[in-house]
C-alpha cells in the first residue's frame, strides 16, 4: 500500500475506531469463490487469454485463462466499521498461478447515507469491473472483456466516498474515488500516480442506470522487456523528431515517448441493466481516450438471459474497436537524407506498436448457466468472433500465434471460443 493512503487510514483509525472497538465484539467471516474453467479456440492461429496473462492457448482445451480462486476475510468491527481482505489467485504475467491482493480496505459506514473506504479497492470503471473475477456472480462464462478490458489497470490504493439517497421512487448513489496504482503485464510494468473518478447509479424497480467517469494521470512504464526492446526505436524516433514535416510524425513520437515520461487518459462507461424473475439484461457502452500511442477505443456489450428454474440460457452481442491505431503510419521529414530512416521507423511503429492493437472485433455469444447446487453454477458458452483486420499481429485477449518458422499462422478472421466452467462460492 502506498504511503499516502496508509497515513489517511492511520488518521482515520486514530479519529474514531478505538472508541468504536471498545463497544462491540469484532466478528470474522471467511468466504471465497472460484472457477474451474476450460477454454478452447477452434483455430491454431489464435489463442485466448486474459490481457495480463503470459500464456495463451490455441486449438486445445486449457484451464489457464479463466480458472481462479479467491478467498475473502471480512472483519465486522461493529455496525459502522468493516474491514475486508480479498486475495485472488490465477495465471498472471509470469505464466504461473499467482495470488494478488485485490481488496484490502477499511470501510466506515458513517450513517445510512454516507460510506468512506480507505485502502485497496478495485476501480469501478464498468458495471462488472469489481466482480469480474467472481465467476458465480456473472451470468456468462466471464465478465464481458470488451468493456472491462477497455481499462488497462485493475484497482487502486486510496479513498472512496459514497452517498446514497432516495430519489423519486428509486435510489441514487454517487461515488467518488481517488488513489494510485501499479500494474504488471507480461512485458511491461506501470506505476500510475493518479487514478480518480466518479460514478452515478440510479436503481428503480428492476432497472439500474449507471454512468462512470475514470481518469488516470502520470502513468509511467517502469520496467519490463517492452521498454528494453523499444529503446533503440525510441532513440531513432527522437533523432528524426526535429525534422518531422507533418503533425502525424511529431505527434506519434511525442505519444511514444509518453510511455516512459508519463501518460494519461479518461474512460466513460454508460450501463443499463434489468433483472426480474424471468429476464436479465446487461447493456454497456464504454469509451477511452489516451494521450499515448495506445489506441483510443470504444466498446459495446449486450447480454440477455432468461431464467427458467435453475437454467438460464443467454445470448449476447459485443464489439470492441480500436479507433485510431489500426492503420500504418508514415513519417514525412524535412531532410531528404533522413526519409529512408523515417520510412523504416514508421514501418516498425506500424508493425510492432500499432498493429497489435488492431483487434477490432464483434462477438456473438450463446450460453447456458445451470445452477446445479446452492453454491455451484455450471456454464457452457460459445463465442463466435469476427476480427476485422486479419493480417494484424494482435495481442491482449486474442493472440495471433506463430508457426514453426516464427511467421504468423494465416487467419481468416473467424474464430470460435468454447468455454466450460464450474463457478462456485463457499
Amino acid at each position: 500500500m502506498p504511503i499516502r493512503p496508509l497515513l489517511l487510514l492511520l488518521g482515520l483509525l486514530a479519529l474514531n475506531l478505538p472508541a468504536a472497538l471498545a463497544e462491540d465484539t469484532p466478528q470474522l467471516h471467511l468466504s471465497g469463490f472460484g472457477s474451474l474453467a476450460a477454454t478452447r479456440t477452434d483455430d491454431p492461429a489464435i489463442g485466448f487469454k486474459r490481457n495480463f496473462q503470459a500464456r495463451a492457448n490455441a486449438d486445445e482445451w486449457s484451464f489457464e485463462a479463466d480458472s481462479r480462486l479467491g478467498v475473502q476475510l471480512d472483519l465486522q468491527l461493529n455496525p459502522s466499521w468493516q474491514g475486508v481482505v480479498q486475495v485472488v489467485g490465477m495465471q498472471r504475467e509470469r505464466g504461473k498461478f499467482q495470488p494478488t491482493v485485490e481488496w484490502a480496505n477499511l470501510a466506515w459506514q458513517v450513517n445510512p447515507n454516507w460510506r468512506l473506504r480507505l485502502g485497496r479497492m478495485v476501480t469501478p470503471v464498468t458495471s462488472t469491473s469489481e466482480s469480474r473475477e467472481v465467476g458465480y456472480a456473472q451470468l456468462g462464462a466471464r465478465a464481458p472483456l470488451e468493456t472491462v478490458g477497455i481499462y488497462p489497470m485493475v484497482g487502486h490504493d486510496g479513498a472512496d466516498l459514497r452517498y446514497r439517497q432516495s430519489l423519486g421512487s428509486g435510489e441514487a448513489r454517487v461515488q467518488v474515488f481517488a488513489g494510485q496504482t501499479a500494474f504488471k503485464l507480461p512485458f511491461l510494468e506501470y506505476e500510475v500516480d493518479q487514478v480518480a473518478g466518479a460514478l452515478f447509479t440510479y436503481t428503480l424497480n428492476d432497472w439500474t442506470l449507471r454512468y462512470a467517469h475514470t481518469r488516470i494521470r502520470d502513468a509511467r512504464a517502469t520496467g519490463g522487456s517492452y521498454l528494453e526492446t523499444t529503446r533503440p526505436l525510441v532513440a531513432g524516433l527522437n533523432m528524426i523528431a526535429p525534422f518531422c514535416a507533418a503533425t502525424l510524425c511529431s505527434d506519434t513520437i511525442t505519444r511514444i515517448n509518453r510511455l516512459s515520461s508519463g501518460w494519461g487518459g479518461h474512460f466513460n462507461v454508460l450501463s443499463l441493466g434489468y433483472e426480474d424473475g424471468s429476464w436479465s439484461l446487461q447493456t454497456e457502452y464504454a469509451t477511452r481516450k489516451l494521450d499515448t500511442f495506445v489506441s483510443d477505443g470504444r466498446s459495446l456489450v449486450a447480454l440477455l438471459g432468461y431464467h427458467h428454474g435453475e437454467l438460464t440460457p443467454y445470448l449476447g452481442f459485443s464489439r470492441a474497436d480500436s479507433t485510431n491505431r489500426q492503420r500504418a503510419v508514415q513519417f514525412a521529414v524535412s531532410n531528404p537524407a533522413l526519409q529512408p530512416t523515417a520510412n523504416m521507423l514508421a514501418g516498425i511503429v506500424s508493425r510492432n506498436l500499432y498493429e497489435p492493437q488492431a483487434a477490432n472485433r464483434k462477438l456473438y455469444t450463446l450460453g447456458l448457466r445451470w445452477d446445479v447446487h446452492e453454491q455451484l453454477a455450471l456454464k457452457f458458452q460459445l463465442d463466435q468472433i469476427r476480427h476485422k483486420y486479419t493480417d494484424a499481429n494482435y495481442n491482449g485477449f486474442y493472440v495471433r500465434q506463430p508457426d514453426a518458422d516464427g511467421q504468423l499462422r494465416p487467419y481468416d478472421g473467424r474464430l470460435r471460443l468454447y468455454s466450460l466452467s464450474a463457478d462456485f462460492v463457499f
Partner: protein, 133 residues
C-alpha cells in the same frame, strides 16, 4: 367425476394451504408500507434507504425462503444467491444476516426499528407491524 374431484380438491387445499407470508418490522418503524418492487430492491441489496429511512433485511433459520423469494420478490433462490455473491465479493454489502431462530430475529426487530423480515402471518405477535402486503 365432478362430485369426486371437488371434495378431493378441498382436502388437498386443507392440507397444503399455508398462511400468507407477510413482511414485518417493529411497530416503531417509520416505514408503514413497502411495495413488492421495493422489497425486491431491499432484499437484493440494491437499496438500503426507502423514503429517507434506512432498512436492513434479516432472515432466520427455517424461514420459508424459497416461497418468499419466488412469490414476493419474484426471484429464484439461485438469482438471489448470485446477487448476494456480487455484493459480498465487491465489498458492497452483505447478504441478509441469518439469526438462529425466529424468536431471536423477532427480538432483534423489536430492538432495531430499521430491521425487517418475513414471517408466516400466523406468527405475527405484539410489537410488530405488517409492512407488506
Amino acid at each position: 367425476m365432478h362430485m369426486l374431484s371437488l371434495p378431493l380438491s378441498l382436502l388437498l387445499l386443507s392440507t397444503t394451504a399455508r398462511a400468507e407470508l407477510v413482511v414485518v418490522a417493529s411497530h416503531e418503524s417509520p416505514i408503514s408500507q413497502l411495495s413488492r418492487a421495493q422489497l425486491a430492491e431491499v432484499f437484493s441489496g440494491r437499496t438500503r434507504i426507502v423514503n429517507g429511512h434506512a432498512i436492513t433485511p434479516v432472515e432466520y433459520e427455517n424461514a420459508d425462503r424459497e416461497r418468499f423469494y419466488q412469490q414476493v420478490l419474484g426471484r429464484s433462490p439461485s438469482q438471489m444467491r448470485t446477487i448476494w455473491a456480487k455484493l459480498l465479493f465487491t465489498g458492497d454489502g452483505q447478504p441478509p444476516r441469518v439469526f438462529g431462530s425466529y424468536t431471536e430475529a423477532r427480538s432483534q426487530l423489536l430492538a432495531d426499528r430499521g430491521l425487517i423480515t418475513y414471517i408466516d402471518s400466523k406468527q405475527l405477535g405484539p410489537g410488530l407491524k405488517v409492512i407488506f402486503p
